[in-house]
């Protein structure tokens, strides 16, 4: 047991860089002696790592300092009131002068922040109204800037924003920004999630590099851990149609593209257009889309009727007729010639950039498949092949061929010199 503690102690010292050279060597020799020792050390350093702060967690240091300061000032005030009544006149004068100066220099004045945390309705300097819930705080400047109205919220609040042209209203909630385009809406921020629900008008929500536009009646939920917006769609009747669609098909983006019969297409497209197509465009990458899908799935939804048919039966019918396909990625085998040309050109550009050939016209042929890369009839290095495969080959058994020899492609495409 004694030994055990000694060992741990030495290993920890080693981890923390507290050991001298002789000890370092001793520890390293011990670690490399057996696989068990190695595992023991790895476990130990893992535990040690875990107990550290998650890397790169930002904090609003400046904001916290403002809060500390404002609290300190409050306690100051009570002390002063008690002991320095006579100073009241002086303070009054100072306040008056400050007021005059503030008014005079209103344009270039640095905003003094006001903090309000009383539940109930407050009026902001621009005439907008905010209703705070319990345990919620809003910070706003005593005078808004000319070109922007910016406030910071913690907790929950209902906002009714006065529309002023050219002076957008921005609310910061943690790392989420809500840009208001003259409207009323509700924000609720809990520890791990910020919900924004629009009652009237529209708002733009920013989170890191994503943004989403919300219309009336829509809600978005933002999770601080995600690098993306997770949209939870409001389940009103119109959105429910989409919910149902997503639930049945699992994949939405394509359906739109692949519907062929005009009647059904129109029915489905209308319901999509009205509700989500705009939003899908805002979630271009698949993981975002998957999250969106999950959120919608989770929210559920009952079957909806369109012209007497349930969406379920419409989708099933279209599937049987081969009018809808279920595929997650864009099907590259049906790319337009223009897109094919772009891909081939890009590949050639890459080959030139990597020095495989000296110029664009040096390429007589290439073939890029999921198993090899051949340029001018010679097989290329694996590293380069893997790189290009990752970039251009969407799936197994897919090939991109360029050159005048006739190649029959089952999957993928072939371009000749004249094509290009």
């Amino acid at each position: 047991m004694e030994d055990e503690i000694k060992k741990d102690s030495l290993l920890l010292s080693y981890l923390l860089g507290e050991t001298d050279e002789a000890q370092c060597m001793e520890v390293e020799a011990w670690i490399n002696a057996t696989a068990e020792n190695k595992k023991y050390f790895e476990d130990l350093s893992w535990v040690w790592q875990q107990a550290a702060l998650p890397a790169g967690v930002p904090s609003n240091k400046a904001e916290v300092w403002q809060q500390v300061r404002s609290k300190i000032m409050q306690s100051h005030k009570t002390v002063r009131m008690r002991f320095f009544w006579s100073a009241a006149a002086v303070i009054f004068t100072v306040v008056c002068v400050t007021g005059i100066i503030m008014k005079l220099s209103r344009h270039q004045q640095r905003a003094e922040m006001v903090e309000a945390d009383l539940p109930g309705t407050s009026f902001l300097p621009d005439g907008s109204v905010v209703t705070l819930n319990n345990n919620s705080t809003i910070f706003y400047p005593a005078v808004f800037r000319e070109n922007e109205r910016k406030v910071r919220l913690r907790g929950e609040g209902f906002f009714n924003i006065k529309h002023i042209k050219g002076r957008p209203f921005v609310i910061e909630v943690g790392d989420v920004q809500v840009k208001v385009l003259g409207t009323s809406f509700f924000i609720r921020s809990a520890a791990r999630q910020t919900d924004i629900t629009v009652k009237t008008g529209q708002v733009l929500v920013f989170h890191k590099r994503d943004s989403v536009l919300l219309d009336e009646g829509e809600t978005v939920s933002v999770h601080p851990d995600d690098t993306l917006l997770l949209a939870k769609l409001v389940l009103e009747a119109k959105s429910k149609q989409l919910t149902e669609l997503l639930r049945r098909s699992g994949k939405l983006a394509l359906i739109e593209e692949r519907m062929k019969t005009t009647d059904d297409r129109k029915i489905l497209k209308d319901s999509l257009d009205k509700t989500l197509t705009s939003k899908i465009k805002l979630f271009p990458n698949t993981s975002q889309f998957r999250n969106l899908l999950n959120a919608v799935k989770k929210a559920g939804g009952d079957s909806i009727m369109i012209n007497g048919l349930t969406l379920d039966s419409i989708v099933r019918k279209m599937m049987m007729n081969g009018e809808i396909e279920y595929q997650s990625a864009v099907d590259t085998s049906k790319l337009e010639t223009r897109q094919q040309k772009d891909i081939v050109k890009n590949i050639i550009r890459d080959l030139v950039a990597k020095g495989v050939v000296s110029g664009f016209n040096e390429i007589v042929m290439f073939s890029l498949t999921d198993s090899e890369l051949i340029v001018n009839n010679s097989i290329q290095k694996t590293a380069l092949f893997e790189k290009l495969k990752l970039k251009y080959i969407p799936r197994h058994d897919y090939g991109i061929y360029y050159g005048n020899a006739e190649i029959k492609t089952t999957e993928g495409f072939h371009l000749t010199h004249t094509n290009l």
Partner: protein
């Protein structure tokens, strides 16, 4: 006690706001990191650290720090986390209740990560006081054993022993999560 600690304390007793701001800037980041490890919630960690500084200011006249201002602040963080914890528990229950009522419960983070974080936080909270303070000084201030020993006026041996103890406790608590790591390593190699 270091000369700087003394300067800070003198400044505090004289209600010198500039010194207080300097002190805040000096200590905020590591204290925040420490609070965050314990509570794993940014807003709450900020509130905890805020309350520690406000309290430090309010009690500046009667404060009695003999050894280390740093150690004092870390202990304050610990107590503030406990105080916030009881409040947060109530809130968590309430939110849980609400989400059950409305059915639309917020999407859960991966259970394992969440659980692991919670266990780490709780374990740090449960370390014996001297052990915890030494651990914090090492972890968040990156202080060397020698510096910690000087700071707290104890021997390097004691520091080493307490650190080993902290590690031992952590390892025991996290033992259940280790197999997962093993799988990951195998998967990668």
């Amino acid at each position: 006690m270091t000369g700087q600690d003394k300067d800070y304390l003198t400044g505090l007793r004289q209600s010198n706001e500039e010194i207080f701001e300097q002190l805040f800037n000096d200590f905020y980041d590591p204290l925040y990191a420490c609070a965050l490890t314990m509570v794993r919630d940014r807003t709450m960690a900020e509130e905890v650290v805020q309350s520690v500084f406000v309290q430090l200011w309010e009690s500046r006249k009667k404060i009695d720090i003999r050894h280390s201002l740093r150690a004092y602040l870390y202990r304050s963080v610990y107590h503030a986390v406990i105080a916030a914890g009881t409040k947060a528990n109530r809130q968590a229950k309430y939110i849980l209740h609400l989400s059950r009522v409305s059915e639309n419960s917020p999407a859960a983070t991966p259970v394992e990560t969440k659980e692991l974080e919670m266990i780490i936080g709780r374990t740090l909270m449960e370390l014996p006081e001297s052990c915890r303070t030494i651990f914090q000084l090492s972890r968040y201030e990156q202080m060397k054993y020698r510096d910690i020993a000087d700071h707290l006026q104890i021997s390097v041996k004691t520091v080493e022993a307490q650190m080993t103890k902290a590690l031992k406790i952590l390892r025991e608590r996290l033992a259940d999560f280790l197999p997962l790591l093993l799988i990951l390593i195998q998967y990668h190699t």
